[in-house]
């Protein structure tokens, strides 16, 4: 009798242990699955990096690093692969977008954070989200059909120029700048603002002399993110910049950015050596964005 009970107890203990082992295996197994999902992010970046540069480096080597980066003739069909003018074009369109988007964006963010009545905020906040969600191609087509003829009427020329591109890109980076700046302005302790008011500052002085300095890293992050969006924007820019690979000498001249050069190049010759050169352009764009990402991380570390 006693023996039988002992056997039963042992069997029960064994089955309990089995359940525990099973549960532990499941726990550890799922933990590994979750970790693999996180590894996918790192793997994705590495794969993108490797495959871009494996194709880009030999092509750039063949063209010559100096001729590629600083060459001023971009004629994909005739074997001239200098992206100097395209880099200048990318910089011009980015600066133009900032000139249009940053002042309006920052001031609108101030309005949203400090002046906006509640009923209006309920309408404005979704509106900025929608602005962020509208596909870039819609902005491009709007720019092409509405802003281009308007600018053509004002300054002459074709209308596909720096002013048009800056306006379109400026509108496109607005939501990024507005929402991030607004968040960082709201994150500043209210006591800063109240303290300034109590010392006799006007509302505007309180905002611009106490809140802004306290929120500066958030504001900088907003601007840098805007730069990132402007540098890489393709669908909209390629419709309004005019796609002429030259360094424009005045605001009413057409130009070309790296991204729009890739888009128009892919339309004509998506094979052979020109394709390798276009991949190299994408790699250069990727390096620009890496620099921007590092800048953002440094800014975030500073804000902590």
């Amino acid at each position: 009798m006693q023996n039988q009970a002992e056997v039963a107890a042992v069997a029960e203990a064994e089955s309990v242990a089995k359940i525990h082992v099973g549960a532990a295996v499941k726990e550890i197994g799922m933990k590994i699955v979750f970790a693999i999902a996180a590894v996918v992010f790192v793997a994705a970046v590495l794969v993108i990096c490797i495959y871009l540069f494996v194709r880009a480096v030999p092509a750039i080597g063949q063209v010559g690093v100096f001729e590629f980066l600083f060459g001023d003739t971009w004629l994909l069909g005739s074997g001239y692969y200098g992206i100097g003018n395209l880099i200048v074009g990318t910089c011009i369109s980015t600066v133009g977008a900032l000139i249009v988007g940053v002042p309006i964006g920052l001031l609108t963010a101030v309005f949203m954070a400090f002046y906006c009545p509640k009923w209006l905020y309920k309408f404005l906040k979704p509106l900025t989200n929608i602005l962020a969600g509208i596909p870039s191609i819609v902005y491009g087509y709007f720019g092409m059909q509405v802003i281009v003829p308007a600018i053509r009427g004002m300054v002459g020329g074709g209308g596909f120029n720096i002013i048009t591109t800056s306006l379109v890109l400026g509108i496109m980076i607005l939501p990024t700048i507005i929402s991030i700046t607004e968040n960082s302005l709201r994150a500043v302790p209210k006591s800063y603002y109240e303290g300034a008011l109590a010392l006799g500052a006007t509302k505007e002085r309180a905002i611009f002399r106490t809140i802004f300095p306290a929120a500066v890293s958030g504001v900088m992050t907003a601007i840098v993110l805007g730069i990132g969006r402007a540098i890489g924007e393709t669908a909209a820019v390629s419709l309004v910049c005019g796609n002429v690979p030259q360094i424009p000498t005045d605001l009413s001249m057409p130009f070309m950015t790296l991204a729009s050069a890739i888009a128009s190049g892919m339309g004509y010759s998506s094979s052979g050596f020109p394709l390798e050169v276009l991949i190299s352009c994408a790699a250069v764009l990727f390096v620009f964005i890496l620099i921007i990402t590092i800048l953002i991380m440094l800014l975030k570390r500073k804000s902590r």
């Binding site: 499941k26 699955v33 309006i104 709007f142 509405v146 890489g232």
Partner: protein, 308 residues
Amino acid sequence: MAKEMVLREGEVDVSHIVPINRQSAKDKLRAYCNKPWSFVLFILIAVATVLAIGAVLLVLIFTLIQGLPNFSADLFAWEWTSSNLSMMPALINTLVIAILSLLIAGVIGVFAAIFMVEYAKSTNVFVKIVRIAAETLAGIPSIVYGIFGMIFFVLLFGWSYTLLGGAITMAMMIMPLIMRTTEEALKAVPDSFREGSFALGAGKLRTIFRIILPAAVPGIVSGVILGLGRVVGETMALMYTAGSVINAADPSGLMEQGSTLTVYMYMLISEGNAYYGQVWAIAVVLIILTVLINGLAEFIGNKLKKEY
């Protein structure tokens, strides 16, 4: 009857001092007279806001005015022909790519977020690397994704242009967005939920799937819907991976090419001004989709969120 002010010894008459939060318009005007620059700034703020709102409304209203009269039953016909230029096949392609990429990115993004929030310590080196990777993925421009997808899926795998290649490329693009929103949703679940579950004898896995995830669902779903918005609005990343045929006939499988709505719009634009009306109509459809998606994400994110 005015109440008479009696000042006791040591008291100061404060009746003329206006509390800062109860200024009348006249007080404000007087303050502005002393500080004209503040007034200038106030005017600038007002002008900038009007400009920003004006720009949005201009884009929205102008597109609606141009697009709505061009709507016709032809544009939504099932079969694409060169005379009706139907956008229906492109809409279906968009839907297929969206569902596929959201499935892939949803699983990876949510699982990675669970790892980051529930398992790893935030000081962990691996967590930092994953975060840098996610930040980088979020910043890469769509055209670079497009070129990468072409190198990888079209050329290296030899798939040619396929819906599947496009969907995987899009999944890589929206993974960071879904991970970030899920992380925020998980962090918003109070620790007492976890402690209560552990105290009742549940394991970690059971706690995550039975307690934490259900509580975080609204946040996760609104993140996924925002991802949907990204897929619907994407042009360049899909153009070189899923293909850019103008006769957007329904592909018969995932391994065939097909243009999404935005790519179809781009193709029509590059045909010149002949398809002016159809392009505006597609723009209207895209804007309606954007508004619907944003509204849905906001509704689920705010209205269904429980307060703990």
